[in-house]
Subunit: 378 residues, 2 copies
């Protein structure tokens, strides 16, 4: 093991999209775990729209990343050395170990109360799913769809669910969960190719290309009974137009506002049509997926694995090789150029992290494996 | 009975506040009820902030009032002649019989499904409360506070409830309901006199004069534990600033947006800080009080009467004499010049609408009677 930990620190708050000069590559010695800690080797790093929010000087549900600090990020990692009672060398864990090759963890990830523990991904390994899924369909992105749609909005059979950013890692899952619950799912995305994938691969009933279609007319056409649930990843004009299509007692789930993240310094566009919440006796609600990890992660992951194996949930991982590429590829999220979960591969997976029992290996879903493999080839 | 029905029709959509030329006085013959109908003589007319919304060309939860039509309004009336099985001459009813002296009703008031029936105010008469209370504390304005605070937000003991438009007919009740539920109640109003009344008469723990104080700092000072429930009558900057003070799992109840009603044509100001709903896992929800009449009016009215009699709910009716004054005095709502429920007296109350039993008469709350009398003298 080389004694060098390559890290990427945030050194200035971005103006607009991320630029190379916002980050600095650092090389530090690999740290040693003390009692109650463990050392991880990061394998995969999650790039998420909210990263831009964290890199701004503004506090949101987390404090901003301090200048000079290693950039914050969700990770899937291998435990290398442990002095922590709950983790042992060889464990595959999902944590928040940042833009670096190695990290020391005390098993607690960030949230305001420090309650979100590092997740030992035994269930994923046992199910034979790719461990990178711990950042996508089974990670914060996929489970944000679960919490934001199922827990927050309680979709009922026959309702219409409209999803913005529908080709994204969260939106694509939200649409499929809507279908599982017997709803009509309509997705909004930024290209005809994405719209085709929404319909063909993710099973949306209809898709809208907001770049080429009149959004207002297109929502009216694809949601002829109005919108009962709007799952919003985008904010801005899209949220504002969608609000005019909500039905009585609609639920608007605020997952994110990607259209606003790169122009935070200019101020956020508020939804001037929020009065529809009154006219339609409707609600708009935000959620933080981490809050629900504490109580419900095991159940949510078990549900998702079951639906993946039953072919009801499909997902795409877009995996880019090499930590050093993170500062550049992250802008794909704000350009709408990514398709599926944008993930950076930092290190090679261990040859056989856990030996699955023969039976489990046989049962393991082939589709996700194929997809992950395909994604890796890009 | 003279055979003339004085009416006020809307003849143009207002620009800004209401102006005299938006209305036209009309004189038509008093209509005759057919089978299934009854004739009412209007006694009191409710002037409400939302009237401006109804007079705009924009649909909200009701269609706009058509030009040339009698202006829409809630009323307390005496049934004069009835061919309706549920109403008889002498009944005091609350309906939506508009800006006119007489009206024909089929016992159904406006809502989208036509489900809100005219309310036979027996409980109010029996309780010995002034029948004008059927438009204020026991009418849509007071019950909007009930639905918007209790039904929509579920206040818990010890929480902080911030109310905008707190000296208004709805806001003042919302603050008192918050106190009944064991919350800290903080009100925002537009004059030192109103702030004093909020504290001394309505029992708010603190009051903010938004015209002379820095609202952001004043909220921070008067809500040291943050805001758990924000009951919003105002919208605009006030809503936007309040959002930055909400706590985790806060509820924002959208009752109205009076700051926006007279500038509808320029567009509504959207709350750019709606992202706090996400950061704070909070919800913003609208409601229409009429929806809750169908199922819960009797219970809500009984609760309110009980609290009034126990001295826990105080209210003010600002009663102006004469239908012809309605077009002018309604602007008091948008100037912030009214204090309490703005009501127009259209006709004299019948000498003894119902003879209360001696016991009921003795029990009747003295305070509201005195207040109503005081208000009438203005």
């Amino acid at each position: 093991m080389p004694n060098a930990n390559h890290q990427i620190a945030l050194v200035q708050n971005p103006a607009g999209k991320f630029s190379g000069s916002d980050f600095k590559l650092k090389k530090t010695p690999i740290p040693k775990p003390k009692k109650g800690q463990f050392l991880v080797r990061n394998l995969y790093l999650s790039l998420d729209p909210a990263n831009r929010l964290w890199a701004s000087p503004y506090a949101s549900y987390t404090p901003p990343v301090g200048l000079g600090e290693v950039m914050r990020g969700f990770t899937v990692s291998e435990v290398i050395e442990s002095k922590h009672p709950k983790f042992k060398a060889g464990d595959i864990v999902q944590g928040m170990d940042g833009w670096q090759e190695y990290a020391i963890s005390d098993g607690v990830n960030y949230n305001e109360e420090g309650k979100v523990d590092t997740w030992n991904m035994k269930a994923v390994v046992k199910a034979g799913l790719p461990i990178s899924a711990g950042l996508s369909v089974l990670g914060t992105t996929g489970l944000a769809a679960y919490v934001g749609l199922l827990t927050t909005c309680h979709p009922k059979r026959g309702e219409t669910v409209l999803v913005s950013g529908a080709a994204g890692a969260t939106g694509s899952i939200a649409g499929q969960l809507a279908k599982i619950k017997g709803c009509r799912a309509v997705g909004i995305a930024g290209s005809d190719e994405k719209c085709k994938i929404l319909r063909k691969e993710f099973g949306f009933d209809a898709a809208i290309n907001y770049k080429t279609q009149d959004l207002d007319k297109a929502i009216a056409k694809t949601c002829p009974k109005g919108v009962d649930i709007y799952f919003d990843n985008v904010g801005g004009d899209m949220l504002n137009i969608a609000l005019t299509h909500i039905n009585d007692h609609a639920r608007v789930s605020i997952c994110g506002a990607i259209s606003q993240y790169t122009t935070l310094e200019k101020g956020i566009q508020g939804p001037s049509n929020y009065g529809y919440l009154l006219f339609k006796r409707a609600r708009m609600e935000g959620f933080i997926v981490l809050d629900h990890y504490i109580k419900d992660r095991d159940k949510m992951v078990a549900d998702m694995i079951r639906w993946i194996k039953a072919g009801k949930i499909h997902y795409r991982d877009e995996i880019v090789n090499g930590l050093a590429k993170a500062p550049k590829v992250i802008n794909r999220l704000y350009d709408g150029r990514n398709m599926g979960k944008l993930t950076v591969k930092i290190g090679e997976e261990p040859a056989a992290p856990v030996k699955p029992k023969r039976k489990a290996a046989k049962k393991s879903a082939k589709k996700p494996k194929r997809k992950a493999a395909k994604a890796k080839r890009r």
